[in-house]
Each structure stands twice: as C-alpha cells, then as structure tokens.
Subunit: 134 residues, 2 copies
C-alpha cells in the first residue's frame, strides 16, 4: 500500500460487499477475559470507504494516520486526522473511510457481542462520495 | 514536556500518590451510551511510572509514542514501543511507565465501572525500577 504508515500494522484485506475500494483489518486485542471487548485497526486506501451502517452497541474510532471522512446521516462530512476521536452512537447510521488523495487508518474500539457489532446497509456510491466530499 | 509527541494530546498532570515522577492523563472518549466503556491516553515523562496495581475488569494498553516498560509480578520487564499492545488480565498485579531515557505514551481502553477500575498497591521504588530495567 502506498503512503500508509499505520504503526499498528495493516492486516488482511476485507472481503465481501460491505466496502468500496480496498480496506484492511487487523485485530489488535480481544480481551480474552470478556469476548465483547475488542480493539482493532482498519486501514483504507484513498477513496475506499465502508457502506452505510449502524452499531447497536456503539463504537469508538481513533484516527491514527492519513486523512479520512466520517459522516452521519443528514449531517456534513467530518474530516479526520491523526488524534481525532469519534463516538459512533448506538443505532446512528453513518459511514467512514479515506479521503480522495490520502489513505486513512483508525483504531476501532468496540464493546459488543460479535453478532451484534454492526448492521450493514447500502453502499456509499461514487456519486454520493464525490458530492459530499468535494 | 520534552521529547513527547502524543498525537492524542497530553492532558493534565496526575496528582496523588499512585505515581512516581510526572504523568499526564487525557480522557479521549467516554461512551455516553455506556459509562463503563472509556478510552484515554496517559503520558509518562522519562522514568515516571505508576504503582503496582490490578484491574478487576482488565485493561488494554496501546503504545503510541516513546519507549516504555510493562511488568507483571514475577515476570521480566517488557519494553514497549509505538504499536505494541498489552492485555492486562483481570487481577494480575503489574506496573507500567516510561523508560530511563524516553518519555512514553499509551492509549488505555477500559470496560469497567469507575469504582472498580483499579486497585492501587505499593510504589515501584527507584531501587526496584533501576534493578529490573538495567
């Protein structure tokens, strides 16, 4: 990957239909004393992003490298850079990913049963991505 | 503070008797939907460290800058650098802090009621610190 400096590592490419573009996931720590509690890192190539989704139990994002976007439904895109923290409130529809010209990485901190971590929805189309982030 | 580059900020000096040397705490995110769930960052000046302690509900540490030490009772000191992750198992006695010649910062991820976050114990004396980390 170009221009990525994720100190926590890159991990494996995320397969499936919940992302547009290339993104990578590395699990950093599952708390073996409490399986609901986990820390991982996600790295997006430039322009890559996940689909709209919600977290029934919320999620905390901590930006660690590059320039990214975060958007909640009916709100403006927030630009994220290293050190920024986002609290994804439970059941608030949103997406996140990299900006046009830079990769982006963040830590993901979750406290949720694995089968209640995320509810995936429709893709963030190229047209929409280009429109809201121009 | 010299030689500290904590992208998440430094925060306020930690007062009280549970640390030797200067250390700083900044709360990054309390999950307002679940008060047990929090992310913060701690920054230690060189040689600063916390007392021996345990976490009844465990804790995850993610090193973000500098060179630090982590030690569990009856084990060798582990040297920590940016990107390293430590799982503090529930009720395992340990301490952490900066190395001799470098400050150190880490993220702290907790899932615990605030009054059950930590059980503080005796200090890590200068003699002990110097002996185990030489």
């Amino acid at each position: 990957m170009k221009d990525v400096n994720n100190p926590f590592g890159i991990g494996k490419k995320i397969e499936g239909n919940n992302f547009i573009g290339n993104a990578y996931l590395l699990s950093l720590a599952n708390a073996d004393w409490d399986e609901n509690f986990s820390v991982s890192t996600v790295t997006f190539e430039a322009k890559a992003r996940n689909n709209w989704h919600t977290h029934p139990h919320g999620q905390i994002l901590i930006a660690t490298d590059g320039i990214g976007y975060y958007q909640e439904e009916n709100k403006a895109v927030v630009i994220l850079k290293k050190g920024d923290v986002i609290k994804c409130q439970p059941n608030v529809k949103h997406w996140h990913g990299a900006s046009h010209n830079s990769s982006f990485s963040h830590l993901v901190v979750m406290y949720a049963p694995s089968n209640e971590a995320v509810v995936w929805m429709e893709p963030v189309t190229n047209e929409y991505y280009n429109e809201v982030s121009k």
